[in-house]
Symmetry: none
Subunit: 137 residues, 4 copies
């Protein structure tokens, strides 16, 4: 089941609320299960460089059906796939991208957040994930 | 004055309502005055090919500070700039993209709509423009 | 003899003066004989879409050692090289780009102008060419 | 307030004077607050490879509203965002790019310098920054 516009809006609303609570200007990008843009929201004050980073985190997550930071284990120094990060137009193997799964395990899409530190972006992305899961109940 | 997230949301809400009223699934892309993505909304059922078209219409409008279809006059058969459409990564010289201007005449950004016929997209884009202008009052 | 920074500045100064005299905000791009950017000047108020167009006209001129509009004869309807405009990353087969030649006939570089109508851009480019030729005397 | 052609020329003049004083042939690229080229100057003798580096440093600075070398802290070995340098078309996380801010803190644009060592490029860029700040007084 691909992500719906309703799901996407819920993710954006909650991720934005979390960012605002943390005093941050974040960018939230949401992709469908084929990696195509479904929704995008840039809060006022976010730096331009974060547009591509949010999209890239979301793309990394949906392409490998995992959290963006999990890709690091494959390409880090000594790992079996050096320079995997150059594939697919350039991956973002750090936190802030999350694959969205349906209750049956199928892929629904992904979200990517950028604007703060990696830790902050990850927190905001998790708020978005929680909102997505709430829409499924 | 660049477009705000508040402006952008108003545009999306009204353009989507118009599309729904017309029985269409549309995509709405909103760019800031430098052509960077500010907000994006893809209604359920819109074809994937319309993602790039909506963005391209919005880009055409903001780059030339006009409606996307106005660029046609420069590049149509017999016009003075044949193949201008190849510039700037590829223009979309047909309706659905509108430059957003501030009351003082300055550029605020642009919006692009794709999903229906050019005539339908233009109507939806105009609903978005009206919403933008209402936020300025 | 490749174009010098001194030549380039003279071109920009005179082209800008001409544009100002005509009440236009123009963009002037200057390339060396290998097609690499030598100098660039964007007058305040020029539209963003003209950045790429000025560069593209200059590139068309230097790649074929002619005026950018001369390329039209090769690719216009019925001409022997249909869609030549798609080569080299996209040509600009309309006025405003001029190849710069040394007195001995060697290529020095090119200039491209965008900001007004094709006729206006061509006039401004010719003012730039005259300035270049004056530096050679 | 976006950077003006007047600001840009002052930056180029002073950065070039500094480079000349240091016996270097430098390239100076100036972008507006949306990352679009405003002005560009290549001194005679600068290597072609520096064209893209100067632009990339300027782009890195304007996208993240900082000095280009500051981005290194996010992507260096052990830092939280490995391979961030692949984002935004490729970043330049080393010295020579500086974001230009208005007195009110708003972004005006950026400049990027390449041609010498990173230390030399940084010195030349700082001369450009000083010239920009002088135009604001």
């Amino acid at each position: 089941m691909p992500i719906s516009a309703h799901n996407a809006q819920a993710i954006i609303d909650h991720a934005e609320a979390k960012a605002r609570e943390m005093g941050l200007a974040a960018i939230i990008a949401i992709l469908d299960e084929g990696g195509h843009l479904k929704a995008f929201h840039r809060m006022d004050g976010a730096v331009l460089g974060s547009i591509d980073i949010a999209m890239r985190k979301a793309r990394t997550a949906v392409l490998f059906q995992c959290n963006s930071e999990d890709v690091w284990d494959y390409l880090k120094p000594g790992a079996p796939a050096p320079h995997l990060e150059l594939s697919n137009g350039g991956l973002a193997p750090y936190g802030g991208g999350i694959a969205l799964k349906c209750p049956n395990g199928g892929l629904a899409g992904s979200l990517g957040v950028s604007g703060g530190s990696i830790e902050q972006d990850t927190k905001i992305a998790k708020a978005g994930l929680a909102a997505f899961e709430a829409t499924l109940r």
